[in-house]
């Protein structure tokens, strides 16, 4: 049996475990990633804008999972490149697929934690009532929906220095969230800004979340197709960035 294939499952599990432990022991990641979106939802979704708890659960949870993905990939990879961790993994027979999968699963687990915390708040304080299948669908869609943001974060992490990564990723993250209508519904935007929002990936992830919770019956097929197209584009950027590493001394 091929050596690489024989060791692959164990390596994948270890990489997933290592990524999750690493993130969970990094307060600079866990606190803002978990607490900020939940706090924002509590203030804006429940206290300041009453009556829209279910709608804002979907949009603020999208905001949360997007951050978990961008930061776990973008900043972490930029730092790991600079520290030599990525190079050490490349020198060892670490499966690159496992390295990426480990980060993806860790980001998904944090995404699920964010959705769970917000769901508890939404049900407990916001009076949101969903069928069990809808709660599960919300968690599933948002966890899987981290994929394009993980890939975007990875593409940025492969290009940025560790000092530039936090700033650039915040510059990408916050405007993208706002322009996608995650804080203020896109329906309240001017028409031209609304047209911009409808081409952004967070807008479509929120649309999927709204669809599966029965909050708004959007065109889920179109939203899924847009997210898939973004995922392919970002994956190509990752592949390009990864190949670039082969030609430089990183």
């Amino acid at each position: 049996m091929n050596i690489a294939i024989r060791t692959l499952p164990g390596a994948w599990m270890q990489l997933i475990r290592a990524q999750f432990l690493n993130l969970s022991r990094t307060p600079a990641y866990t606190l803002p990633t978990l607490l900020f979106p939940v706090m924002f939802y509590a203030f804006f979704g429940l206290l300041m804008i009453p009556g829209r708890a279910q709608f804002l659960l979907c949009t603020f949870a999208t905001f949360g999972v997007m951050g978990a993905a961008l930061f776990s990939f973008g900043i972490a990879i930029a730092m790991e490149r600079a520290q030599g961790w990525m190079r050490l993994l490349r020198a060892a027979p670490a499966p690159i697929s496992g390295v990426v999968t480990g980060k993806f699963v860790a980001a998904m687990l944090f995404a699920l934690a964010i959705v769970a915390l917000m769901s508890v708040l939404a049900a407990g304080l916001g009076g949101v009532r969903l069928a069990t299948g809808q709660w599960l669908a919300l968690a599933g869609v948002l966890a899987a929906g981290t994929l394009p943001f993980c890939l975007l974060g990875m593409a940025l992490g492969l290009w940025l220095s560790p000092s530039a990564a936090p700033a650039v990723i915040n510059i990408v993250y916050l405007p993208l969230a706002f322009l996608s209508g995650l804080w203020v519904p896109a329906s309240q935007f001017p028409a031209w800004l609304q047209a911009v929002a409808e081409w952004l990936p967070p807008y479509h992830l929120a649309e999927l979340a709204l669809h599966v919770t029965g909050t708004r019956a959007g065109d889920w097929v179109w939203s899924a197709a847009v997210l898939a197209a973004y995922s392919i584009t970002f994956a190509a950027a990752v592949a390009f960035g990864w190949r670039r590493l082969d030609g430089i001394r990183k």
């Binding site: 091929n2 050596i3 690489a4 024989r6 060791t7 164990g10 390596a11 599990m13 270890q14 990489l15 475990r17 290592a18 432990l21 690493n22 022991r25 990094t26 790991e80 600079a82 520290q83 030599g84 961790w85 190079r87 050490l88 490349r90 020198a91 060892a92 027979p93 670490a94 499966p95 082969d246 030609g247 001394r249």
Partner: protein, 321 residues
């Protein structure tokens, strides 16, 4: 020692922009032997190591690992352990978690408990990497390199920053690996380390091989002794003594560098029977290295390389000739 090379490199060359990092380098790494790679900063050591590990694309030359494997191929990578010069790890993982992670990459890894014991990490398994001392961190990185029972161990300046005791512990671990039959490539700035560990030494400078051989052969490439003495003879007369290539005056007397310490000493005592505090020291590997690279002054301020290299071409130059 087996004569079968684990790795064979021929005609390696690599450029960064317009800078030649390596030019026509050949290297064999036999099983059960430590090959030390010496050279000043920028000599091309790390580039050579990165080519060997498949971390840089091989544009010129050939590398064959374990017979017919190319660098970076899975069949080669799973038999190589690497300890790189800048090797940050996810430093909030514990020693055990890191070792188990790396063990999972290899088809036949070492027992974690045995490896931890062998690398002097017993009792530290549950400690996070960022809470280890410098020596413990280096030993952990060594354990990550060794956990796959590699046939080839590549160590890029593994003892930099370690205190003497920590360095010696790591040396013992390296010696144990050699005794098991691993081929070991050791890049180092420490001549004492190369002298103690290396079966063969390759001296690189400016991307080229200046010399290669056993440590003793390298020392013999620079047949120079250092003679320290208090003497009434002046610099002119001392310079005229047989074999002397450099004379330096100092607060502790004269320092002579000689290509023939015996002849110089004999002539010195004939010319000045009252010469006192005479000390004759043979060339060590560091002296030889400095002479070959001509890149740094000795501790007494003498730049030894120029005069010697003019008279004594490097082994590589001799081989070429």
């Amino acid at each position: 020692m087996s004569s079968q090379p684990i790795a064979t490199c021929r005609g390696l060359a690599h450029r960064y922009g317009s800078t030649d990092a390596l030019s026509g380098v050949d290297l064999d790494l036999p099983a059960g032997a430590v090959t030390a790679l010496l050279g000043p900063n920028g000599a091309g050591k790390t580039t050579l190591i990165h080519l060997l590990l498949g971390l840089l694309p091989l544009r010129q030359g050939t590398i064959r690992l374990f017979g017919d494997r190319a660098p970076g191929a899975n069949g080669a990578r799973s038999r190589i352990g690497a300890m790189l010069q800048i090797s940050g790890v996810q430093d909030n993982l514990t020693v055990r978690e890191l070792v188990e992670l790396f063990a999972s990459f290899y088809p036949d890894p070492a027992e974690v408990a045995d490896l931890v014991e062998e690398c002097g990490l017993a009792g530290l398994e549950g400690r996070r990497f960022d809470r280890l001392s410098g020596g413990q961190k280096q030993r952990t990185l060594f354990a990550l390199a060794a956990v796959g029972r590699p046939g080839l161990l590549v160590l890029d300046e593994p003892t930099t920053g370690l205190d003497p005791a920590a360095r010696r512990r790591l040396w013992s671990a390296i010696e144990a690996r050699r005794a098991r039959g691993d081929a070991i490539l050791l890049s180092t700035h420490f001549m004492e380390e190369a002298d103690r560990l290396a079966d063969r030494v390759v001296v690189l400078d400016g991307g080229r091989v200046l010399a290669r051989g056993t440590p003793a052969e390298i020392r013999r490439r620079v047949p120079r002794d250092t003679i320290r003495v208090r003497s009434r003879l002046g610099a002119e007369r001392l310079s005229a003594l047989p074999g002397v290539v450099k004379v330096r005056d100092g607060s502790e007397g004269w320092t002579l560098l000689s290509g023939n310490g015996v002849a110089t000493t004999r002539a010195l005592l004939e010319a000045d029977p009252d010469a006192a505090e005479l000390e004759v020291r043979g060339a060590d590997l560091e002296t030889a290295f400095l002479a070959l690279t001509g890149d740094a002054p000795t501790d007494d301020g003498v730049r030894p390389g120029c005069a010697v290299r003019e008279d004594h071409p490097s082994l590589e130059e001799r081989e070429t000739a």
